[in-house]
């Protein structure tokens, strides 16, 4: 056996990486799968959130669009305030609030702020998806690193197993040429056994690295699919976030001015009405006072003349009333006599009437 053959047996190949065993490989794959399951679960969460957000945002933007379209129509017609009140009154999300008493600017701003919040949440979701996608691509890079290591080790193992097998063949040929019980034959046999051991050992490695490469590659494909799905989802969200954002930006610039302008007419009307009511009240009071004064001035002499007569007549009536009340109270104090008398009076009155 020449020097290089001895070297081959004495110095088996060095594999790169952390070393490998069936248990390690299983653990590795298990870890990667767990990570991937987490990511799939996260993706489900993202999808659910996206559906909710897209629905909510579509609602919010629909409302804004409806308002915006209405504003454009009404601006040209000139009936901004009343028209807006009408449209707000019809919108289900106003939830029966007393629209005629509300400020349009207030309602528009509340709507804008709600839409802005939805949009912001959607943009945050898009960024979280982008971060997840980046994490997945980092993961793919890491998997690629491991795949390359496995492939390199697989190649090393295959090359070594090939060489050792060639050596085994040469040794078996040499054994045939020697006498069976000679020392040389025993030495060659010992080397063949060592070679067989190395073949088994490194064939195992070859198989393990090949399996690792294959399984990691499969995991990588799944991760890649996941990353692509997330990327599609993100670009979907980005699409509506960008569109909604542009719309909202335009509306932000107009909303206060439009709202305030729509309110202004109502404000002036309310103010005018309020001041008119006040003026009317003042006028009525003034008119009442002056009319009363005129009446007194005109009638004061006659009143003074008649004062004595009024007084005499009034005293008489008061006296009669007082006497009657005293009688009735006395009867009431005596209990059922009052009822009897009442019934008698009623009967007499009935008789007279009929």
């Amino acid at each position: 056996m020449n020097e290089s053959m001895v070297e081959l047996l004495r110095k088996p190949p060095v594999y790169v990486g952390e070393g490998i065993s069936l248990r390690q490989l299983e653990e590795q794959i298990h870890l990667e799968r767990a990570l991937q399951n987490e990511q799939v679960e996260e993706l489900h969460g993202f999808r659910r959130r996206n559906e909710e957000m897209q629905r909510a945002l579509a609602d919010e933007m629909g409302r804004l669009r409806e308002i915006s379209e209405h504003l454009n129509r009404e601006q040209t017609r000139g009936g901004l305030a009343s028209g807006l009140r009408e449209i707000f009154g019809r919108l289900p999300w106003v939830q029966g609030r007393m629209i005629t008493r509300h400020s349009i600017e207030q309602l528009l701003r509340a709507q804008y702020e709600l839409s802005a919040r939805r949009l912001k949440e959607a943009a945050e979701l898009a960024d979280r998806l982008e971060a997840s996608r980046a994490v997945l691509f980092d993961e793919i890079e890491r998997l690629n690193g491991r795949i390359i290591i496995s492939a390199r080790n697989e190649e090393t193992a295959a090359a070594y197993v090939g060489e050792v097998k060639r050596l085994q063949k040469a040794l078996e040929e040499a054994l045939k040429r020697t006498s069976r019980s000679s020392v040389e034959a025993r030495e060659i046999q010992a080397q063949i056994d060592l070679v067989r051991r190395l073949v088994v050992e490194h064939s195992g490695y070859l198989k393990l690295y090949s399996t690792a490469e294959e399984r990691l590659d499969k995991l990588k494909q799944n991760t890649y699919q996941l990353a692509e799905t997330i990327a599609y989802l993100r670009s979907d969200i980005n699409l509506y976030v960008t569109a909604a954002s542009e719309k909202l930006d335009v509306i932000a610039g107009q909303i206060q001015a439009i709202g305030a302008a729509a309110d202004a007419a109502v404000v002036m009307l309310e103010l005018k009405h309020s001041l008119e009511t006040m003026t009317e009240a003042i006028n009525q009071t003034t008119r009442f006072v002056s009319e009363t004064q005129a009446y007194f001035r005109k009638n004061v002499d006659q009143m003074v003349d008649e004062l004595e007569l009024y007084d005499e007549q009034t005293v008489l009536v008061f006296d009669e009333n007082l006497t009657f009340n005293e009688v009735v109270e006395g009867l009431r104090a005596n209990g059922d006599g009052f009822d009897t008398l009442s019934q008698e009076i009623e009967a007499l009155a009935h008789e007279k009437l009929s």
Partner: protein
């Protein structure tokens, strides 16, 4: 007007400095909250998450959408922090990956953390405080404070002191529970709509409501703030545009306060720019206001104070003197 980078950071610092220098009393929107709100627009806080800061072309204050943006971000901050996860994990991702998004997510974590618990200005908040109750007359006295970023891009605070007679007729403006007072939506809407007008018109309008007796309406306004980059010739009063001409570092920030109250001794106008900012009210309504003054017995006092760049203090004081007013002018 869009400010970016250093200009954006410089504007935020300047704005906060102006608010500090203005020494605002409680009849103005809360300066501390306003300062925090504007502070959150600084790139140092949002860490480059936003392109820049849009400033209102007429008021010189940040645009409505910028105030609303900070408000929205604070509303979602706690939930976003929960979804972003731990800062340590985000940091590890930044170290391990070259993807820019990880840097962005880390910046968001820091931004939202800074926003949580921050006391911001309300863009339209109303508070009602019960001052006292006269049980025998069935009258409750309230103070109503209403803050709003108005359509002109200015921050305003209405402080209204009024009393309400309990009545079976009409709808109350304020509803009393055992210990608290709450405004009705109609009442808030009414103040909301009137926020573009002055205190007098609000006084006259409120005084006309059955069961309400108004004692005082004070309107404090923050802004406008005039400075470089604005089209001063078209948006600023002519004297201000003249003061700022050729002074690239110069600025004039205004803080108006107008009060209509039954305990003000005389009508007085101490606002040298009153005519410039007067609301466009018809002569007819102004005439009716005269009647309202007589009927409700209130008087109107208007004033305005200023924070200006140091070199403009003397000039502004001279201008006020020429207009026959005496105003506080702080230099910064």
């Amino acid at each position: 007007m869009m400010l970016k980078g250093e200009a954006e950071a410089g504007y935020v610092n300047w704005f906060r400095g102006v608010l500090r220098a203005a020494r605002l009393n409680s009849f103005y929107p809360d300066g501390r909250r306003l300062s925090a709100h504007v502070g959150a627009m600084s790139p140092a806080v949002h860490r480059g998450l936003y392109d820049g800061l849009q400033v209102h072309r007429v008021s010189g204050l940040p645009e409505y959408k910028e105030w609303a943006r900070v408000q929205t971000d604070q509303q979602i901050a706690a939930e976003q922090l929960r979804q972003l996860g731990s800062r340590q994990v985000l940091e590890e991702r930044v170290r391990a990956s070259s993807a820019e998004i990880h840097q962005k997510q880390l910046a968001k974590h820091d931004y939202y953390s800074a926003l949580v618990g921050m006391e911001l200005s309300a863009l339209d908040g109303m508070q009602v405080l019960l001052r006292r109750i006269e049980a025998e007359r069935r009258v409750a006295h309230f103070q109503v404070v209403f803050d709003k970023l108005d359509a002109a891009g200015l921050f305003t605070r209405y402080t209204i002191e009024l009393s309400q007679q309990a009545s079976v007729w009409g709808r109350p403006a304020v509803v009393l529970n055992e210990e608290t007072a709450a405004y009705t939506e109609e009442f808030k809407a009414l103040i909301y709509k009137f926020s573009a007008l002055d205190s007098e018109l609000t006084f006259a309008r409120l005084a006309g409501i059955d069961g309400l007796k108004v004692e005082r309406v004070i309107k404090g306004t923050i802004g406008p703030f005039y400075r470089k980059g604005m089209d001063l010739a078209s948006v600023a009063p002519e004297p201000v545009a003249a003061m700022l001409a050729g002074r690239p570092g110069g600025f004039v920030a205004m803080f108006a306060q107008d009060s209509s109250a039954v305990d003000v001794v005389n009508h007085q106008n101490n606002d040298p720019f009153g005519a410039f900012f007067a609301a466009g009210i018809s002569a007819e309504i102004r005439r009716d206001c005269q009647l309202a003054r007589e009927r409700y017995g209130y008087r109107v006092y208007r004033e305005r104070k200023f924070v200006v760049s140091r070199e403009l203090v003397g000039e502004m004081q001279r201008f006020c003197g020429e207009m026959g007013t005496q105003n506080l002018v702080y230099g910064l």
